[in-house]
């Protein structure tokens, strides 16, 4: 029996999702990413003496939105607390967070791993402010601090320790990211740190129920890293326990280069956060009216959208599943359908060429479809050209490639390059005559009964017409000519 069989992993995840608000949680500074250092700061987010926080209403709305989607109980009264610790990126020496009374309690998220559905329970969702960023110079003796991110609103979404494998953890994270994107509350970008995950990992002997000593793992900036770090920790725990050792409760950092975890070096690990109610912010009262208002403005969630795609657009289940797996993809699909209402044809293009193009351009994580290389309206026009018989499916592929490069409209590209399908008999008959005249031996073979040479002749005619000839017409005229003479 291997260690992996004898021990059962117990995993809980804490996700920090940066909210897509215009301004910070407690001041009027911009919450956007990428400004020069300390540009998005003011006395409030720099924690200057005497200044006070004022809550951004949208943060509460977003928290409620997440809570409703995850089926949490929304607390009619929650409370702000101070989490006290010293760190250079924490301006006030405390973080305003929620502790005893968070805004959302309970709830669950359904995930699918290898075709098996599983329900993961949530502990809570609470609101808090993000910290600034410390920039560590690998060689120098000093660090630099930028407070642009300090005060950007976060939701901390805490799961129960219901996850039993790295794959489940990965599926949970992907499902949660799809959800926050659907909810339009977070862009879900792990690389830029707007969607961050810490994992609490422990193992226990199979068949037992008591939880083992848990280790918190941080510093993972991709789904892959989360899965690898958890797998590493599970193996490490099992090995230590197999060898009769004990697991130390600690925080470990994932080292992506060395693919291992290591304990944090700082002495800061002995924390006593001394949480207490923040006297600067009154208890947060959420009225039923506010919850109802948020519910009314709730964006359509993946399940509902999938059902609608099948019912209203007559898409196969599979297509609906793939298209709704990403908020941006589903949005794009619908925008194309709006331009040209042939849902199945649009689905084929989006699931095929569009996804391939995104992958080639490494745009998998781009949130807004307006940034995509082929505008939805243009793709609709392209499919319309096929349906009208103006171009062939094959020509359409060429046009699509050019649309992706030049950004031009399909009609313009077709016109500029003279790609309009030829459906007049005259030029096609001329091309056929030319082909037949050039291959008298093949014509003889065909007439002697070698039917499969028809494909050869079609290919030659298409080539002679630069692919523009209407293929069914070519077929009919060729057959007439070959059999008729």
């Amino acid at each position: 029996m291997s260690a992996g069989d004898r021990f059962e992993p117990v995993i809980g995840l804490e996700v920090h999702a940066e909210l897509l608000t215009a301004s910070k949680i407690f001041c009027g500074c911009s919450a956007s990413f990428g400004a020069p250092p300390n540009q998005h700061t003011c006395p409030v987010c720099l924690g200057m003496p005497g200044v006070l926080p004022v809550l951004n209403r949208r943060v509460v709305e977003f928290a409620i939105r997440a809570g409703l989607a995850i089926r949490c109980a929304i607390a009619p009264r929650s409370r702000w607390a101070r989490k006290n610790y010293f760190y250079p990126d924490l301006a006030k020496g405390y973080q305003i967070s929620q502790y005893e009374l968070p805004i959302c309690v309970g709830g669950h998220l359904d995930i699918v791993v290898d075709g098996v559905a599983k329900r993961v329970r949530l502990t809570r969702i609470h609101m808090e402010e993000d910290t600034g960023k410390n920039i560590h110079d690998a060689h120098g003796s000093e660090s630099l601090v930028d407070f642009n991110r300090c005060g950007v609103p976060l939701l901390e979404i805490v799961s129960e320790p219901d996850l039993a494998s790295p794959a489940e953890a990965g599926a949970y994270l992907r499902t949660l990211r799809t959800l926050v994107r659907y909810l339009e509350i977070c862009d879900g970008n792990m690389e830029e740190g707007s969607f961050r995950c810490d994992a609490n990992v422990s193992v226990r002997a199979r068949g037992t129920t008591a939880l083992g000593v848990k280790v918190e793992v941080k510093n993972m900036n991709s789904f892959r890293a989360v899965e690898k770090a958890i797998a590493y920790e599970i193996a490490r725990h099992a090995r230590v326990l197999e060898e009769g050792g004990t697991i130390v409760q600690e925080t470990r950092l994932w080292d992506a280069d060395r693919e291992e975890t290591r304990p944090m070096r700082s002495k800061e690990s002995a924390h006593d956060y001394r949480y207490f109610p923040d006297p600067d912010l009154p208890p947060l009262v959420v009225s039923e009216a506010l919850v109802a208002e948020v519910r009314r403005a709730m964006p359509e969630l993946p399940d509902a959208r999938r059902t609608r795609f099948v019912a209203a657009l007559k898409l196969p289940e599979y297509d609906a599943e793939v298209l709704t797996s990403r908020r941006d993809l589903a949005d794009y699909f619908e925008a194309v359908v709006a331009a040209h209402p042939n849902a199945k044809a649009v689905s084929n293009w989006v699931m095929g060429d569009v996804l391939r193009l995104l992958k080639e351009r490494k745009l998998d994580d781009a949130l807004t479809i307006t940034d995509w290389p082929v505008a939805a309206a243009h793709l609709g026009e392209l499919i319309a050209l096929i349906d009208e018989g103006a171009i062939s499916g094959k020509i359409a592929k060429t046009v699509f490639e050019e649309m992706g490069t030049s950004g031009g409209t399909p009609r313009a590209i077709v016109a500029a390059r003279g790609l309009t399908q030829v459906s007049d008999e005259g030029p096609i008959v001329a091309a056929i005559d030319q082909v037949l005249a050039a291959h008298p031996d093949k014509v003889a073979e065909f007439r002697a009964g070698k039917d499969k040479l028809l494909g050869f002749f079609v290919g030659q005619v298409m080539k002679a017409t630069a692919g523009k000839a209407n293929p069914p017409l070519v077929n009919r005229l060729l057959t007439e000519k070959l059999r008729g003479e």
């Binding site: 003496p49 006070l52 004022v54 006290n84 010293f86 006030k92 001394r274 949480y275 207490f276």
Partner: protein, 493 residues
């Protein structure tokens, strides 16, 4: 210079400024000259903003000449406690750690003073981060009591009380977390008022204990106090604990008289160890009010004896968190130590804070730490509820509560420095009011055998500032204690 010119009330000066009998520049120059003359013996100011004050005064004069005064305080020299942020004027909180800090923002109360036309003459001395009852905890050296410079002015807003008592300004701002306006008002023989929690914005007021801090005015008399309160009070969108509630005309409240006022006298505020002169003066004040037609009744506030303990847990817990921002990173002084981050923090804070501030940070950190939170912090919050309930019960049948402001008059410099607990007990009559968030005033009601002023405290129900001012003005109008002035410079008793 006549005495009237030298020491006008705000009300008096405002009238004469508008009549063109006096200029803001003259008034400001006179205040600055007195501040300079008394700098050595009273040390009321940490920073005198002479240049800015004269510039503001000139602007006031221009507006007055044009017949367009900005507001109720046009041209009036006002001093501001140095825990209140003033854009472009150094704001130290009486601490080494902020000795060179110049805020790029105004506190809301500062902005309100400016908008009303006030001339800000300087920043007054105070206990470091408003922690103290004597002003001896100022990193810049103590302010002294103008009635006797060997005595403390009271704290923490000592400099603001001294500035008004010695006419270095016509009015001033202080902050009151456990009595820091009322105690120095009492010791210095001026009027000082702590408004209801939430009545005045705390934005830009360097926090000591956020659930207790409140800004309020010092003035020569109750009329001026009402005028200043009217300028300060009101909702501020930048302070989530400030209340959206109309600000009444406090001047209108003054004329109500004492007749029909129901005045409660709590037995717990007449304790053993009280100075007999204080007790006599307060009893006499109560009789005066009774003579004016007020109904006097005895009541009990049974949890009073727990107030000091509850206060020092709640206030220090909040302070330990509020003062964490002074870490040598973004502003303030810094000591690098051995080059590690931890040592930078420890050395910066050890060098930047004085003993009392360290003591309170330690006490508050302890009260919030794992294992002690329930026994101290949570317990104190529960006791706070009991104290709130005591007051609520009394106010069911009373309009105001009258007590002494402090058990004694001003004590000598150095007398209580070695015994922090004795110092804390100076605030036993003022602290409950902060725990309950109530409005209260201290006004002069006598002079003791040593020639030192005695303060009368009048406490109102939440947002009962008008009742407090009405009772105070009725008493003041029937007596002349508020007209007594400290002796000339150099005097001591």
């Amino acid at each position: 210079m006549t005495a009237a010119f030298d020491q006008p009330t705000i009300t008096d000066a405002a009238r004469r400024l508008r009549a063109g009998e006096l200029s803001a520049t003259e008034l400001t120059r006179a205040a600055l000259a007195r501040a300079a003359a008394r700098a050595a013996d009273l040390h009321a100011f940490i920073t005198v903003a002479e240049e800015a004050a004269l510039r503001d005064a000139a602007a006031s004069d221009a507006r007055l000449r044009a017949g367009k005064p900005a507001g109720a305080l046009e041209g009036i020299p006002i001093a501001i406690k140095d825990v209140i942020a003033t854009a472009g004027i150094r704001t130290t909180a009486g601490s080494r750690i902020l000795a060179d800090f110049v805020p790029p923002y105004d506190a809301t109360v500062t902005a309100r003073l400016r908008a009303a036309g006030a001339v800000i003459v300087g920043k007054t001395n105070c206990d470091e981060f408003a922690m103290g009852s004597s002003n001896e905890n100022s990193a810049f050296g103590p302010a002294r009591n103008p009635w006797d410079v060997t005595r403390v002015p009271g704290g923490s807003s000592g400099g603001s009380a001294v500035a008004v008592a010695a006419s270095l300004a016509l009015g001033s701002l202080g902050t009151d977390t456990g009595g820091s306006i009322r105690l120095p008002a009492s010791y210095c023989g001026v009027v000082g008022m702590k408004p209801t929690y939430g009545r005045v914005s705390r934005y830009g007021v360097i926090a000591y204990a956020s659930s207790l801090d409140q800004v309020g005015p010092f003035a020569r008399d109750v009329t001026d106090c009402a005028l200043l309160l009217g300028v300060l009070a009101g909702h501020d969108a930048r302070d989530s604990t400030s209340v959206e509630r109309a600000v009444p005309d406090y001047g209108d409240a003054l004329a109500g008289g004492a007749k029909g006022l129901r005045i409660a006298i709590p037995g717990e505020y007449f304790v053993e160890g009280m100075e007999p002169d204080v007790e006599r003066a307060v009893q006499s004040a109560v009789e005066t009010l009774g003579g004016l037609g007020a109904q006097i009744g005895s009541v009990s506030l049974p949890h009073t004896e727990y107030a000091v303990s509850a206060y020092y847990v709640v206030a220090t817990a909040e302070a330990s968190s509020n003062l964490a921002r002074y870490d040598g990173v973004r502003y303030g002084s810094r000591v690098d130590g051995d080059g590690t981050l931890l040592e930078m923090y420890r050395r910066t804070r050890a060098a930047g804070f004085g003993d009392e501030v360290k003591r309170r940070i330690m006490l508050g950190t302890y009260a919030l730490s794992a294992g002690y939170y329930d026994a101290y912090y949570l317990k104190a919050q529960r006791v706070r509820t009991l104290i709130l309930n005591d007051f609520a019960r009394v106010f069911q049948d009373a309009d105001v509560i009258v007590t002494p402001t402090a058990p004694t008059t001003a004590f000598r410099l150095g007398e209580k420095v070695a015994d922090p607990l004795q110092m804390y007990l100076s605030d036993i009559f003022t602290i409950s009011v902060n725990l309950a968030g109530l409005p209260a005033i201290s006004l002069p009601c006598g002079i003791d055998a040593a020639g030192l002023p005695i303060g009368l405290q009048i406490i109102g129900p939440p947002f009962g500032e008008e009742l407090v001012l009405r009772a105070a003005r009725a008493y003041e109008a029937a007596t002349d204690w508020h007209t007594r002035r400290p002796p000339a410079p150099g005097g001591s008793r």
